[in-house]
């Protein structure tokens, strides 16, 4: 029982990180209809920015978080404006390739700006271990699960009640009609990129606190990808939940079946889901009119 709990708990913690990154994927997909293959790299860059603030300025958790997320916001806006906006109206293939190229650039900039050594993001919090019975968990891991829940609730309310959330849904449903209705598609896209970068940034900071920074951190994007497929590419809330499911399932598989299968389990899941329910658990089936 303790073994199961340990697996499930740490699965929940890492799953929450996957969930946040997956939400980042979904926000962009929902607003712009494209998969951002640079999501993992974005996550990594924000974590490195947080680390830079921590080592050069202050280790105060509030300052680091606000600074890094502010940088994330600007980075998201800049990417949208400089790289993605000019690609509006181009085929999906072209825009997706742009995000892949962006991923290559961001990945290389880690060694260019920082170095190849792993680093610890020490914010003074989140590292101590809380024990309940025989089971231990780090406070940072509890916090990430709580953050995910808060984000899920926040986004649900946002999409349902806020004016801008409704505008985003309108653009996702039909951007031309939305445009005719007076919704500024460009502004929605910009907001989506900024929001996605911030969500990824949160995931990145939590991940760095619990697991350290390294130039291979971008693989978080690949690991979270199955989550957003499971939840549905256009389902922000679903993607967040998908992350938790993947995290727990993966850890249980690793614990009971052996770890070789753990890393590909997500990819097998992607294929299975896409065969059975291509629009994900919570996504919407899209119908094309000729």
């Amino acid at each position: 029982m303790r073994f199961f709990l340990e697996l499930a708990l740490s699965g929940l913690a890492v799953g929450a990180v996957y969930g946040l990154v997956a939400m980042g994927f979904a926000v962009i997909y929902k607003a712009t209809g494209l998969v951002n293959f640079a999501q993992g790299e974005l996550t990594m860059i924000i974590a490195y920015i947080a680390w830079t603030i921590q080592t050069n300025l202050t280790g105060n958790v509030a300052v680091v978080t606000v600074g890094a997320l502010g940088a994330a916001l600007l980075l998201g806006l800049a990417i949208e404006r400089v790289v993605m906006r000019p690609m509006l109206g181009e085929p999906v293939f072209a825009t997706v390739m742009v995000t892949i190229a962006l991923a290559v650039i961001l990945r290389s900039s880690i060694n260019f700006i920082w170095d190849a050594y792993p680093h610890g993001l020490d914010l003074g919090v989140g590292r101590s271990v809380v024990r309940a019975g025989a089971v231990g968990i780090r406070t940072g891991q509890i916090a990430v699960v709580a953050t995910l829940l808060a984000m899920l609730a926040g986004f649900t309310l946002f999409f349902r009640y806020s004016r801008f959330g409704i505008a985003m849904r309108a653009v996702a449903a039909d951007d031309r009609t939305a445009l005719l209705m007076g919704v500024s598609t460009g502004r929605v896209h910009a907001a989506a990129w900024a929001a996605s970068a911030v969500i990824s940034g949160i995931a990145g900071i939590f991940f760095a606190v619990s697991y350290d920074l390294s130039p291979t951190m971008f693989q978080l994007g690949l690991k979270s990808f199955p989550a957003t497929i499971l939840g549905g590419l256009d389902a922000v809330i679903g993607s967040g939940l998908g992350g938790v499911i993947i995290g727990v399932a993966e850890n249980l598989a690793g614990g009971y079946l052996g770890s070789g299968t753990k890393e590909v389990a997500g990819f097998v899941l992607i294929i299975v889901i896409l065969m059975v329910r291509p629009f994900g658990l919570f996504g919407q089936r899209d119908i094309e009119r000729v």
Binding site: N111, A116, P118, Q219, K223, N251, G254, G255, K262
Partner: protein, 385 residues
């Protein structure tokens, strides 16, 4: 007419032959000897590649400050292969045919040298392989490829034997990576396991690049292993040790030299204290290690100095072997001479590892191994008796 042609051809051939004997080999001028390394300088493997290159630079700067080799200064060109075999192959050819370097004082990782071996062997260029010496590099011995270090299998055997002798009758756990490095670690472990009848309660592999080791470590805890061989490289070992701390288990843990860099101790935190490691180069916590740092400090840039790790020593030792051989060849510098002189290396003191020597049929130093232990207070490794 035909006779004239034949005579001309003969004269030409004789000319090139005598010319070949007089003129120096490629990459050698009256004032300079050009050396070139193929090494990963980008992406995560740059961690080892940059440090290794720093070691080569230390050796070169040392020789140049002493007036060069018989009046010739040494110069290094680097070619980045990103740890991708196809690029290693290209880079090796480029160094030999375009940059026309005289020798290769440092060649990329284990699989990469194996991939480039046909090119190296065919060209005959003096080459030092000091990043990842594996059997395929030195067995069968090639006239011009010299492996400096100890084999992965031997290293693991030494570590496991030591830990086994210190902890008789204890249960074991081992986790390795799913590539050729992991296979080498496992092979080494398996021989000792059979020999000493170790009781292995957990044996697992992980996929290269994995970051979350919670399920593996939960299994380790569940298995109750008392001695643990962490077969990760850098970030994997950090993740494993931190996870063990979280699960509040503290088996006797051993790590292997590819991951034995000082920087990880700080990241692992106090949990790293007492970690066992094995290596053939000196730990920086030893007097020899300190002496090397002192020597390197004025010779390299600040950024390079900060990036120094065990690969720097490996690179330095390898480059020293080459430079000493070049010295012995004197002004008449050829590949044949350098290769022959390198093979004649005996008891070369580099200060960073056991004396280096090759034999007529040995292209592998098979250096003496040392068991060492991490000391968290000073963030260094210290040799154990």
């Amino acid at each position: 007419m035909r006779n004239t042609l034949a005579a001309a051809a003969l004269a030409c051939a004789a000319g090139t032959m005598s010319f070949g004997a007089l003129a120096a080999e490629q990459g050698v001028t009256d004032t300079e000897i050009l050396l070139g390394s193929v090494i990963p300088l980008t992406g995560p493997p740059a961690l080892l590649g940059v440090a290794h290159t720093t070691g080569v630079k230390v050796a070169i700067a040392e020789a140049n400050n002493a007036g060069g080799v018989k009046g010739r200064k040494l110069r290094l060109v680097m070619d980045d292969d990103g740890y991708v075999s196809a690029r290693t192959l290209q880079s090796t050819r480029k160094l030999i045919d375009v940059d026309k370097v005289f020798a290769i004082p440092g060649h990329s990782g284990s699989g990469q040298v194996v991939a480039a071996m046909p090119v190296l062997e065919k060209s005959g260029i003096p080459t030092i392989a000091s990043v990842g010496p594996v059997k395929a590099i030195y067995d069968p011995p090639r006239p011009n490829v010299f492996a400096v270090g100890s084999s992965y299998e031997d290293g693991i055997r030494a570590l496991v034997r030591y830990l086994g002798d210190r902890n008789p009758g204890k249960t074991w756990g081992i986790i390795t990576q799913d590539d050729d490095y992991g296979v080498a670690v496992r092979d080494g472990f398996d021989t000792v396991q059979k020999e000493k009848k170790l009781n292995v309660v957990l044996s697992a592999t992980y996929k290269r690049g994995q970051q979350d080791f919670s399920s593996e470590m939960a299994r380790l805890k569940e298995s109750g292993a008392e001695v643990f061989l962490a077969g990760g490289i850098i970030s994997e070992n950090i993740a494993m040790v931190k996870e063990m701390e979280k699960l509040s288990i503290k088996p006797v843990t051993g790590i292997f030299w590819p991951g034995r860099v000082e920087a990880i101790l700080k990241l692992m935190g106090p949990a790293s204290d007492g970690l066992y490691a094995v290596d053939y180069v000196e730990p920086f916590g030893s007097p020899a290690g300190q002496a090397f740092m002192e020597k390197a400090k004025p010779l390299v840039s600040e950024a390079e100095f900060k990036g120094i790790n065990r690969y720097t020593m490996a690179g330095y030792a390898g480059a020293r072997v080459l430079i000493e051989a070049i010295k012995r060849c004197g002004r008449e510098l050829t590949w044949a001479c350098t290769n022959a002189e390198m093979a004649r290396t005996k008891d070369l003191e580099t200060g960073v590892m056991a004396p280096i020597g090759f034999g007529p049929n040995s292209r592998f130093t098979d250096s003496r191994l040392q068991i060492m232990q991490a000391d968290f207070a000073t963030l260094s490794y210290k040799p154990v008796q």
